[in-house]
């Protein structure tokens, strides 16, 4: 690659001439000398990688790979933790500014006020939506944030068991179990909050629940508190444009997934774990926290407002093995995107978008429920997801729809809840194209008529 003594790659400026100058200064004649400490017997192994590709070739390769994905194009009614949203155009525009995108954790506040002030906006937005008093700057995703919330609950209560209230997203439950394995905590799955005992540090409840229904969080929180445990609400932040803030309903900690409002689903990641809490847990929070402060006094100079990373004695780089978490690099750019999307929508826009989502989903459900052979499972109030039973077994129905290039809702028929029996979990949001819903209803009508 070093043809003609030029730079070895477009990203490395040093030419042979540069290298010669630098080596001369070091008094050596080969870069290899710099690696002399490495064990000679193991050095420079044969490594088989595909050949290097120039930019245009790389784009062709990935365009070919992209063409092997059919998922993006088709009508899809999958939700189950990832929801397509109408993202304002300014979001992608602003987060692509390289001053935001190519900086890192704001260790030097004097030249990181952009990241820091935006993080403070994020914390403010999260507190407003969730009804909580404090928020960190975001975690990996909803599931790991929920697992961290469980660890916090175990720390502050001194209890060694966690309670998960079904229906909970299986991915969230899985991650809680992964973290609990390390912490040596027991994980119990409850079908009703009344099954809480004095052994449980917390009760984890999803809002809306995994099968789409809107919970009465107040009664859930009450049951947790009666058992002396914390209530952790796992809430969809978009749905909170319409639904009661979990903090209002008595939750002690709130987690959620912010990815959907930050950008396209991206096959599930990177994501954004929302983590908010009551003030009394402030010093137990995992992750980074940004605080507002002022410049130090200088003569003849009115101190201005600025932002810094704060309460860092909780964190791994100071407290090491006694830190509240090992959290380091997070999801700052997604948090920025989330903040801009929510602020662009504003108070009315967010409410209106959430209602539009609600109405489109309910309209689609009503049309499907009216088809011969199809029924919507009755579960009380719901937001954007509904259970459909059709004239065919769920897997077969999904296959028939796939044959028409429509991706059905998730097959939940193997779940323990009676309402999930024989059902597919369909999702329609404000961003689902109306013609996709038309296509679905038409396809289902045909399938229903034939069976």
């Amino acid at each position: 690659m070093t043809a003609g003594g030029g730079a070895p790659t477009p990203y490395i400026p040093n030419t042979d001439a540069d290298r010669a100058l630098m080596l001369a200064r070091l008094g050596i004649d080969s870069i290899e000398t710099l690696f002399d400490d490495l064990p000679a017997a193991l050095r420079d192994p044969a490594i088989a990688l595909p050949p290097a590709l120039a930019e245009a070739e790389l784009m062709r390769l990935l365009a070919r790979r992209g063409a092997q994905n059919a998922a993006g194009e088709r009508p899809s009614f999958l939700g189950a933790g990832a929801y397509r949203r109408s993202i304002p155009a300014i979001t992608a525009h602003l987060v692509s500014r390289s001053e935001f995108a190519t900086s890192y954790t704001p260790y030097q506040p004097e030249i990181s006020q952009g990241t820091l002030q935006a993080a403070f906006e994020y914390q403010s937005v999260v507190c407003e939506l969730t009804g909580m008093e404090v928020s960190n700057t975001g975690m990996y995703d909803v599931a790991s944030a929920t697992a961290e919330a469980c660890l916090l609950a175990a720390r502050v209560t001194g209890r060694r068991a966690l309670a998960l209230l079904e229906p909970l997203h299986p991915g969230t439950a899985d991650v809680v179990r992964t973290y609990a394995f390390g912490a040596g905590l027991r994980v119990d799955t409850l079908s009703a909050p009344q099954a809480m005992t004095a052994e449980h540090a917390c009760l984890v409840a999803q809002q809306p629940d995994f099968l789409g229904a809107i919970r009465d969080l107040e009664s859930v929180a009450g049951a947790a508190h009666d058992a002396g445990a914390l209530c952790i609400a796992v809430a969809d932040p978009f749905a909170l444009g319409l639904l009661r803030a979990p903090g209002d309903a008595g939750a002690d900690l709130v987690t959620g997934e912010g990815r959907d409002l930050a950008g396209p689903p991206g096959f599930g990641g990177p994501s954004l774990g929302i983590f908010a809490a009551r003030e009394r847990f402030l010093r137990q929070l995992p992750g980074r926290i940004v605080g507002r402060t002022r410049e130090l006094a200088r003569e003849g100079h009115e101190p201005r407002t600025g932002y810094v990373l704060t309460l860092q004695a909780r964190e791994q780089f100071i407290r090491r093995e006694r830190a509240t978490s090992n959290f380091s690099t997070g999801q700052a750019l997604l948090a920025l995107a989330f903040t801009i999307s929510v602020q662009a929508l504003g108070p009315q826009g967010l409410r209106r978008a959430a209602e539009l989502c609600y109405q489109r989903a309910h309209d689609a459900a009503a049309r499907i429920g009216a088809l011969p052979g199809f029924a919507i499972v009755e579960r009380g109030p719901w937001f954007q997801e509904f259970l459909v039973r059709g004239p065919l077994p769920p897997a077969e129905l999904a296959r028939r729809l796939a044959a028409r290039e429509i991706t059905a809702g998730l097959d939940v028929s193997a779940r323990p809840e009676p309402e999930a029996r024989d059902a597919l979990l369909f999702c329609v949001t404000e961003a689902t194209a109306p013609e996709h819903v038309d296509a679905l209803v038409a396809a289902m009508g045909t399938i229903g008529a034939r069976s």
């Binding site: 010093r283 004695a313 407290r319």
Partner: protein, 130 residues
């Protein structure tokens, strides 16, 4: 830097002021200087029994965190709640307003095993110019 002669000192930079069967505990001027701006002090519940060398609390500065160790055995009979709102008192006045807890001593004789001011000062590393 000052190290009042009437106090006794631990190797972990706490001081003890024995007053009859009671003793007051805080951290030294050297300790507060090393920690820098103190931002939070966590103190024990009143009534707690503490054993010599055991951590009775935690002190945080902007960039560091340390356990606070009790110099002697005893029962916590008072704590300085003013530090909740004004942890900077520890920086400003480590031996007076920045006190942390008052103990009922289980065995006042234990205090004699602690260092006196001269011995404590002699064991400190040479201070940088600042």
């Amino acid at each position: 830097m000052e190290f009042p002669p009437q106090l006794r000192y631990t190797t972990s930079d706490e001081w003890l002021h024995v007053q009859g069967r009671e003793g007051v505990v805080g951290i030294t001027d050297h300790a507060q200087d090393q920690l820098g701006d103190i931002v939070f002090v966590e103190l024990p519940e009143i009534g707690r029994q503490v054993k010599r060398g055991e951590a009775f609390g935690v002190i945080e500065s902007v960039k560091a965190v340390c356990d606070l160790h009790t110099p002697v055995d005893g029962e916590v009979i008072a704590r300085n709640d003013a530090l909740t709102d004004a942890p900077e008192l520890v920086n400003r006045s480590p031996y007076a307003d920045g006190w942390m807890i008052r103990l009922r001593l289980s065995d006042p004789a234990q205090a004699t095993e602690l260092r006196d001011a001269a011995a404590y000062q002699a064991a400190l590393p040479a201070a940088p110019a600042h």
